[in-house]
Subunit: 493 residues, 2 copies
């Protein structure tokens, strides 16, 4: 482990290489034998599970229930909503057969040509179509509404260039699909969920985000309007971290889902969908981690505190263990996840490096002299500061320190974003500034043409039209036409 | 709802129809537009979630960690273990293409023939092959062992005859995959997990099970030995509810996974795998439910107690609500999941029938007169007995009643199984008895031939060679050859 840590590329040398190495070395994930698909390893999955549990609780508090819909979607379903199929057709995994057989010509096991499906099935890239095909049977009257379902699932988009967590052919996510009786209620839920995602990002991931609306170009295929939360990574690139789509009546029309409204009239149902994925793992890593490895926010760390004994012989170890035991109990009683690592086959130096690499927020080291003095060495992962403290009352102080770390890394990320966000008024200046990374607030005339020209010339996209902040109108930096407000440009993951 | 309940077919009329109707009417699941795949509805999913959470905690207490492996398996991986591919080839969903396109001849969206995969990918029917392909990189020394991973996932087996929960083309499950340094350790883990499943079935599902070993014929494809838990449904049929496979070194050999053992020698790794699936939902339903609907064990019921106000006007409702509020709080403080259903758009009679259909273990009904008298009507779902009780101390009594129900339905199921289990010594008698359903303990000579003859002639299979109980040897009821012990025969789901 110590060796592996030493080998970690520095961020300043090659950020992208640092990321890939860290994902592997910290045991988060690895490439699988299947093109573009990753294996999420136990330590990485434990972080994802904490995200899932937190989000799941937050969803349920708003009345959402979980359900499960089929993995495979009939091709004809995917094609019902014109923009939707246009958006996903190019990256679909297609099931065409349902059986293998022994080749009569001795070529081993082959696809059985007699087992061709009448209609091809698509591995879901997202589930709007199969779900709205189902909702048709669930919804008849306004009394059946709202329907507020979420599913935790795997989805597949055949991406050509993949990176672990950030862009993989298969990924894990949750997708919420709500049906409402009115446009207003559906819009309110769409906004409620983007606010929920922003809360989760800020309070649990310690990751500041900007809430905004996507330009038409970047909208979900089939949506009227897409809300997004955008985060800034350490290298100044943007990462879209969650989206919530107001789908209007598009899917209800495509699947003929109507209800009898309060005025006793048939009406198409109003829809929204919203999701976050294992991409958040990439966002978490690139928001906080450093050249020593992961830095995890205490609110999502599978191990929040590790305790490492420093000893020369088994008598010393026994004595240390006796002292540590009640501390472990006190920490657990405070709801803190703690690991006492007294494994004898790894030296303390190895353990130190390993838990640093894995981003454990607080490390306590305790040796024979500490026992004599009634002290313990406390190290915080975010700043790597070490301090010798009295053992007495340590549990409560560790609890406070975890909160301090949570706040500190959020503030650090926020400061970084603020420093790398600036207003630009001319396209000339924009082209220079975009090379330096970060978010650029600039005026834009609202047209797809201008957006695409900027993207083609600078690789920058409109991340969002921010919901909060300065709403002063101006003129487009490219065309000089009127602009309603500044929007955020950035290069992105 | 009341109408739907009235329409529920009686078990004595048509057990199979009763089951299908109940799954739909109780909002557990429904058929989807995709052949053989179901939609798990929110209420059904909430029960599955309780199963998941319980099992997940039990797994983790034994040191197991969760991880995630790819959905799609290269065909060549599936083919590496000869028996394994033989077992699964006939029911595989095969991905052959990765893109759709607009047909140049105007036939809409079609599979793009230029996007054919070089190697077909199989939607996982189970993950031994992809996981052992991965473990090869994880395991080098005995110090890397054991590896104890589980994944919660969807899998696909292209079944021709499907029934909701019991046999579906796609189903949800968990699959544990452990790697060990010795045969003994792997066998111990295999047995540990079948014991864990039995504990779960009995303590949470209130479903008695028999632990045993599968005959060679019924073994998992690629295993040395399969342990099973077998439950008896109300109609006397057996339902295999969980399996744990000792895989020996078969998959390690197929994927060349070796490690340096303590004697510094290379050795193939020892493996086991174990799983339960959404099939358990079917088992739960068919163990306890009745002609009025579901009967859920309190330990897995999403709603354990429902409270229904009986009122004539809003003043009465307000007064009842004021009385109910502290009871709800007391129940919640005891960790009991409670719903106060004061919805005004459904009459009490409808609510009663609905919660009976949904199997809520305890119902409290409280009216204006109860307020005056300080009483409440308590109904237990398992026996449908009603009793008027003092409000004072009701929370503690409800808690005790929930445990009583849990025990009672277990005992009832156990009694049913015992009554429908008998020893038979001649094949003549066997043929008569098997028609009556239930488990038959009979002697068998241990050969595949005899087993297949019995199956062909009576549709009964060997459910297991029980681990516990009478081990007296005897002679095979068919061939008269020696038999080591009686085995369990039954018709099965």
């Amino acid at each position: 482990m110590a060796k592996e840590l030493k080998d970690l590329t520095k961020r300043s040398e090659d950020y992208s290489k640092w990321y890939n190495e860290l994902v592997t070395k910290a045991d988060l994930a690895e490439q699988s034998a299947v093109r573009g698909c990753m294996v999420i390893k136990p330590y990485g999955y434990a972080i994802w599970e904490k995200m899932q549990q937190t989000l799941d609780r937050m969803f349920k508090e708003t009345g959402v229930q979980n359900a499960y819909f089929p993995l495979l979607i009939p091709k004809s379903f995917l094609c019902r909503e014109a923009e939707h199929v246009e958006g996903f057709a190019k990256e679909c995994a297609v099931v065409t057969h349902y059986r293998l057989k022994n080749d009569p010509n001795g070529n081993g096991v082959v696809v059985d040509p007699d087992a061709r499906l009448e209609e091809e099935l698509i591995v879901r890239p997202t589930s709007e179509t199969i779900i709205w095909g189902t909702y048709k049977n669930w919804i008849h009257s306004y009394r059946d509404l709202p329907v507020l379902c979420n599913q935790w699932a795997n989805v597949m988009r055949w991406e050509m260039r993949t990176r672990m967590f950030l862009r993989t052919a298969e990924f894990l996510w949750q997708e919420g699909h709500c049906a409402h009786a009115t446009a207003e209620e559906s819009e309110a839920r769409t906004v409620q969920m983007i606010n929920l995602y922003a809360d989760f990002a800020e309070k649990y991931m310690a990751m500041p985000v900007i809430k905004g609306v996507k330009s038409a170009n970047e909208r979900f295929a089939g949506a009227l309007n897409t809300y997004t939360i955008e985060a800034m990574m350490q290298d100044g690139k943007a990462l879209q971290s969650g989206t919530s789509h107001n789908l209007g009546q598009n899917f209800a029309k495509a699947f003929d889902v109507t209800f009898i409204n309060k005025d006793n009239q048939p009406e198409y149902v109003w829809a929204n969908s919203w999701g976050v994925s294992t991409r958040l793992m990439g966002a978490l890593i690139m928001t906080h981690s450093d050249d020593n490895g992961l830095v995890l926010p205490p609110h999502l760390a599978p191990i929040q505190v590790v305790i490492i004994p420093i000893y020369k012989n088994s008598e010393q170890l026994a004595e240390i263990s006796k002292t540590v035991e009640p501390i472990v109990e006190q920490l657990r009683a405070l709801g803190i996840s703690v690991k006492y690592d007294d494994a004898e086959n790894r030296r303390p130096g190895f353990k130190f490096a390993d838990y640093e690499l894995k981003g454990v927020p607080v490390r306590l080291a305790i040796g024979a002299r500490d026992i004599e003095n009634g002290t313990v060495e406390v190290m915080r992962r975010d700043t790597l500061e070490k301090q010798v403290e009295p053992l007495d009352g340590i549990a409560a102080r560790v609890q406070a320190l975890l909160e301090e770390i949570q706040t500190n890394i959020y503030q650090k990320a926020l400061k970084h974003r603020e420093e790398m966000t600036r207003e630009v008024d001319t396209y000339e200046e924009f082209k220079k500034e975009i090379e330096k990374g970060g978010f650029i607030l600039a005026h834009w005339d609202g047209t797809v043409e201008t957006e695409e020209k900027i993207k083609a010339e600078t690789k920058a996209t409109i991340r969002c039209i921010p919901l909060e902040g300065d709403k002063t109108p101006g003129v487009c930096m490219v065309t000089g036409k009127p602009s309603a407000q500044r929007v955020i440009f950035a290069r992105n993951y």
